[in-house]
Amino acid sequence: MRMPRPSSGRLLRAAAAAGAVTALTAALAGCATDVTRPRVEGSLGPVFANLYVHQQTLLGHPGLTPAAVAARPTCHRTTPGSHDKGAGSDWICQVGWTDGTGRPQNGKFELQVRSNGCYQAGGPSKIVGPIMIRDTAGTSVINPVFEFDGCFDTT
Amino acid sequence: MTVAVPAVEASGLVKRFGARTAVDRVDLRVDVGEVYGILGPNGAGKTTFLRMLFGLIRPDAGTLRVFGRTWGEAGPRMLDGVAGFIESPRFYPYLSGRRNLNLLAGLDGGGAGSRIDAVLDVVDLAGRADDKVGGYSFGMRQRLGVAASLLRDPRLLVLDEPANGLDPAGIRDMRALVRRLAAGGLTVLLSSHNMDEVEEICDNVTIMRTGRVVYHGSIDQLRAQAPDPSHRLLTSDDAQALRLGGDHPAVSVSAHPDGGLVLRAQPADADAYILALGQAGVAVRALHLEVAPLESLFFMLTETDPAAGHDVPAQAQPDALTGAAS
């Protein structure tokens, strides 16, 4: 029969080739990672600033701009030997910013960063408020900075 | 007057499946207008040959021309004007017979769509055409297969064991249908393992066994070479009947291993012998045909040593057989 299905020999060769390619790529992969400290910090700052402006508007303090908030995150991973890169739920970011009254604020954010460049950040509720807040009309709405998502370019 | 381009012309055709040679150096020619039979027991290579004809499998060696075209030259256009089915015809069970034909007519193009009602009538399926094929009996599917072939308005109709799996009435209808189609000028190539069928329908025949051609020629020629019909004979006095057999050189009478006698003779000679039995006071209790003559020839051809058969030129085969049969 003229090989209508791959023979076991061919399958074996294909599997060996696939294994070799995988091993080679894995060896190369150690060099680069998509999730790096500059990328995380570069994304978290503007995202938090935008959401903080949004939250202040909900609470009746309009007129604030993201530039005035000037969020400055400093991030690192708590796992030893992680060299502050790679996906994980152990990212901690210390964020400093300026609030609506001009006072400096500082809070610790916990981040779960996924390998696709998206993360979920949880803010300190003592500073940013609880999960639900009341807007100026008295309606209970989601607090945008209590927990939020963000993504950055991994290419 | 001869037709220049044969409908089918195979030369030196070989197909191997692993170590097994399914078709071994087969030569075959089907002229336009004839009904040609490929006869052989199961596994003789008939279906493999027909699959190659339809381009479903590729020959390992040799050439195959259909109306003068090969796969290499014409690709699927080699099948223009050719229709038929291999083994049992298959359809989409979740669609009605008419819908199946509709789909196939769409593939065929041309005027195939306008022939659907006509071909359903030809195979006597018009009444059930709107039922799902999943609910069809084997015979109905077989008839739908013929209808699907006729849709192409073919010049050559190829049928692989068309009567396979049919009940006696279905077999009778199928044979009548093939004869009717052939009478209309269609070239028919059919395979069968049944000598009766081929004898009834075909003009010419190729007999195959284990991938090789062991005989080809016309049915008339084959019939002339066939051994005498063999009968089972029960009498009131077998010993006396055996002795009387010695007085009739045109008949051969011998003891049957299961009791009774075996009578081999042409009908006229058998009649004379039976009458002689009566005159001698031996009553005939039973006389029935055991093996039809062509069938016994077929068994001889397909059950002898293939090595002995193959290298003998085809034209010499009937002579060799005559020797074996007498």
Binding site: H54, S115, Q120 | E34, G185, D203
Partner: protein, 301 residues
Amino acid sequence: MTTPATPATTATATAAAPVPPAAVHPRPVGRGRVATAYRWEVTKLAAQARTRATLAVCLLAPFVFVVLLDRQDRLPKDTLYGRWVHASGFATPLLILGFAAQWVFPLLTSLVAGDIFASEDQHGTWKTILTRSHSRSQIFWAKTLAAATFTTAVLTVLALSCLTAGVLLVGHQPLESLSGTLLPPGRAAGLVLAAWATALPPLLGFTALGIMLSVLTRSSPAGIVGPIILGLLMQLYAFLNGADTIRHLLLVTPFDAWHGLLAAHPYYGPLRDGTFVSVGYLVLCLAVAYTALRRRDITGG
């Protein structure tokens, strides 16, 4: 017969000669045959209950999903836009897009692509169609185009249905971008549709994967389940934070490319890379499937 002029054959031919041979009928020319076969395959797909049911589910499921979600207090916060499903109707299609990429997309496309070749094996109908003057290449491209058509149709129906369900049942409030800014409804609607459109290249990659498995295994279950399992394994690899170089080569990675569109300053790098990867899968799988189908002996059925 090696020598055709044997007395018997000549006699038969002579006897048959008075009957005029049937007229030669014109057949469709080669270039139209893929189109003919494509129409045949689409008609066949449209007649299958499975095809209709899949499209019906794509049309109705988003509405059911939104209604069920509305009755829940807990928000599906693990998926992007999960926390905004009650705040904006535009979050619904994006949440479903993120969720569907996990295994729904491979399932939807392989339902047809994984079966489209194997079903001919299952019904034994290869010989029925290949004996009708169509080449295997023509049938291959017709079936591939039909599977791609179905994939595109499913994606379109699902995208529009999700958007409609969100806007009708939740509303057209402004949508939070992935950078924390608010997008006005018109722009949000456009971005939602664009985000769904970015799923087409990897989805066609999965279609090709299904086609390849369908041809190679000749089994519908393998053709349908195979892409789903491969998709899940790829998800698992990404979830376990495997090496990023390999992750970039996985067919599920392009499903995340839409994130770049929803940023305040959109970035298109993942979309570009993802499209290359998808096209790579497409070409490779189709080449393997095409070669296998061309070389195969049709012996079954």
